[in-house]
């Protein structure tokens, strides 16, 4: 087929997919007596249309982008990192530990120390499935998934037990972080440097991956591990390093949430950012530059749909329905090859 025909066909497919999505959303909205077009317009306006919405979208984009990076970097080596959630919590725990229990750190060094701690914790959490996969071939998807829950329960244990705030009268939270341990924010918003780190990181990684030997090695490993071994590339090392490096970003997202958004360590820090990040990375084709607008768009959709509860009185489950449908549509749009052997 000629390129133009492919383009026409794929546009048609996209329109059909988008149309089907619109239809399903319309049916659901009508089933609860809502006007379709005004509600959808409100959704987009809530997410992108006014200053409050835009700021909130950017705030939400920060952990989503960082977790997407956590999934995309290992993907370059052919690994699936769905352990982002656990890596996020690992970073949050480490940063909180420094904030609460390292009084010997001078005020100005607290934030750098927290960053370092979060990065190391995330790298460690990601290195476990990375190393197990690189050295023994243990499936990193399953290990990562299980480690997510270990991290979540560890946070709960700490917060209900050894790290519980003695001044909070038994409520399961840690003490509030001192101002030294809170990241600086833009004006009165919750926007913190994490977004810059994410954006800069994406650009940097994109550049590094396409122009360095390291990036090239990862591509070889992904396409053909056998070739990689033939070329004597340190397979296990690269696999572990890519997962660990990706995990650092998720951990920084956790640090940001604990420090800025919550101001303490508590369970439920992440409403599934790790998994959402994985989906965003996939949507962007694991391409670090495309990840920026995709993360922005997804963050805006989440924020906008969420705000529909107040502006349109819709139930809170609407967000998940909408986002689930968006991802299903994206799945459908990804026409793919016929599998071998059918």
């Amino acid at each position: 087929m000629g390129m133009r025909l492919i383009a026409v066909r794929s546009t048609a497919v996209a329109l059909v997919g988008g149309g089907a999505l619109f239809l399903v959303v319309a049916v659901l909205l009508r089933s609860v007596d809502r006007e379709v077009l005004p509600t959808l317009a409100a959704l987009f306006r809530n997410g992108f249309g006014d200053r409050l919405g835009l700021t909130e979208t950017l705030v939400r984009m920060t952990p989503l982008l960082l977790c997407a990076m956590a999934a995309a970097l290992p993907a370059k080596a052919g690994l699936f990192n769905i352990g982002g959630e656990g890596q996020l919590y690992a970073g949050a725990m480490a940063a909180s530990g420094v904030a609460l229990y390292a009084p010997f750190v001078p005020g100005v060094l607290v934030l750098p120390a927290m960053t370092l701690a979060a990065g190391l914790a995330g790298a460690a959490w990601g290195a476990i499935p990375g190393w197990l996969r690189g050295r023994w071939g243990v499936n990193e998807v399953l290990i990562g998934l299980m480690l997510n829950y270990v991290a979540i329960f560890l946070v709960q244990h700490l917060v209900h037990g050894p790290w519980k705030d003695p001044g909070a009268l038994g409520w399961p939270y840690t003490a509030r972080f001192a101002p030294d341990a809170v990241l600086p924010t833009v004006g009165t918003t919750n926007l913190h440097p994490g977004l810059l780190v994410g954006v800069a990181g994406c650009v940097l990684l994109w550049a590094l991956l396409r122009s360095t030997a390291w990036g090239f090695s990862l591509r070889i490993i992904e396409r053909s591990p056998r070739t990689a071994r033939y070329l004597k590339l340190p397979l296990a090392g690269h696999l572990m390093a890519s997962l660990a490096a990706g995990a650092v970003f998720a951990a920084l997202a956790g640090f940001g949430e604990a420090s800025v958004v919550q101001g303490r360590l508590r369970p439920g820090l992440s409403p599934g950012y790790g998994y959402a990040g994985f989906l965003i990375a996939w949507l962007a084709g694991n391409h670090f530059l495309w990840m920026l607008p995709v993360a922005f768009l997804v963050a805006g959709l989440y924020s906008g749909a969420d705000a529909l509860q107040i502006t349109a009185g819709l139930p809170s489950a609407t967000v998940d329905v909408f986002m689930g449908l968006v991802f299903i549509t994206a799945l459908w749009l990804r026409a793919s090859r016929v599998r071998a052997g059918e």
């Binding site: 243990v138 329960f153 244990h157 489950a317 689930g324 991802f327 299903i328 459908w332 016929v338 059918e342």
Partner: protein, 313 residues
């Protein structure tokens, strides 16, 4: 508190509770075992269980028939599993993405459509022999359970028998170990996988139905509280064997009932460290078996490993 600790009623209560509370996750784990044996991982279990739970309650409230409620739950769950099967098997999409998308969608749909049924009373699925308060004898461990609990045991035994002894089961396993060889043998890889995923999904829906219809007898948003994910872990721990999936589900159930039982009898232990054990167990089990089998075999169904590592776009 200086009462003598009575072992017998404690054990009876724990065993009965373990079976009762482990049944929803047992269904999901047995179903997922079948799907994964055929080489497809379904991470949408959480959403599918929720859809099953909500559908069961909705149908029970609207029609009053437990049979319809259970059947409807299985049907709704199969539809979601069908979506997963279509995307993954027919279109070659990324299994993880498809599963995650279904988890999100299932959670949302069940919450959205289930709103009218929150806080609504209905007559749930009761035990075969009425329990009442106080302790009972050893027989009550089984007689105090509802019909679906026994259905789970049948499902475990039946799946094992089918996988081990029948041609269909052989086809499923073949497709999961070496799809190309299976295809060469004339087995339709596609159809077998779709069927396996459908069965897995409908069992997960049945698990959700048990949770809402029999165990708690109510519907609440996100009521599965992660049991769909636990099922994925249990499949690993049980080494892709349906009877072991059932046993490990009961063990998980024992963990969950152990905590309140210990509290009710006066002891205290960190519930979160306890809760971690199934996941740590899965990690250890998978790591150890993979290492032990290096070069000699597969720790997980081969096609599953290959598909998860193949970057499918």
């Amino acid at each position: 508190m200086s009462e003598t600790f009575l072992w017998e009623p404690f054990l009876i209560a724990v065993l009965a509770g373990a079976i009762r509370s482990g049944t929803p996750v047992a269904f999901a784990a047995i179903g997922e075992t079948i799907a994964e044996r055929a080489g497809v991982i379904n991470l949408g279990l959480e959403g599918i269980m929720l859809v099953g739970a909500m559908t069961a309650v909705a149908l029970k409230v609207e029609t009053g028939s437990s049979l319809l409620a259970v059947a409807g739950a299985m049907l709704a769950a199969s539809l979601m599993a069908l979506a997963h099967a279509y995307f993954v098997v027919v279109r070659g999409a990324n299994q993880i993405v498809s599963g995650l998308a279904l988890t999100i969608l299932g959670g949302g749909l069940s919450g959205f459509l289930g709103r009218p049924y929150v806080g609504v009373r209905f007559d749930g699925l009761g035990p075969l022999r009425d329990a009442g308060g106080g302790s009972h004898g050893w027989g009550s461990i089984l007689s105090g359970q509802d019909a679906l609990v026994f259905a789970a045991m049948v499902a475990a035994a039946g799946s094992w028998a089918v996988l081990r002894r029948t041609r269909l089961g052989l086809a499923v396993r073949a497709v999961g170990e070496d799809p190309e060889a299976a295809y060469a043998q004339g087995i339709s890889v596609r159809r077998t996988r779709i069927a396996a995923v459908l069965v897995g999904g409908s069992l997960a829906g049945l698990g959700g139905a048990h949770l809402s219809l029999a165990y708690t007898q109510l519907w609440a948003e996100k009521m599965t509280a992660g049991q769909g994910w636990i099922a994925v872990g249990l499949v690993i721990v049980s080494r892709w064997s349906p009877p072991w999936a059932l046993i490990s589900a009961y063990a998980f159930g024992a963990l969950t009932v152990l905590h309140p039982q210990l509290q009710a009898s006066g002891a205290t232990v960190s519930p979160y460290l306890l809760a971690m054990t199934p996941y740590l167990g899965a990690i250890v089990a998978l790591t150890v078996t993979t290492i032990l089998l290096v070069g000699r075999g597969h720790a997980i169904p081969a096609a599953l490993a290959k598909d998860l590592q193949l970057d499918q776009r």
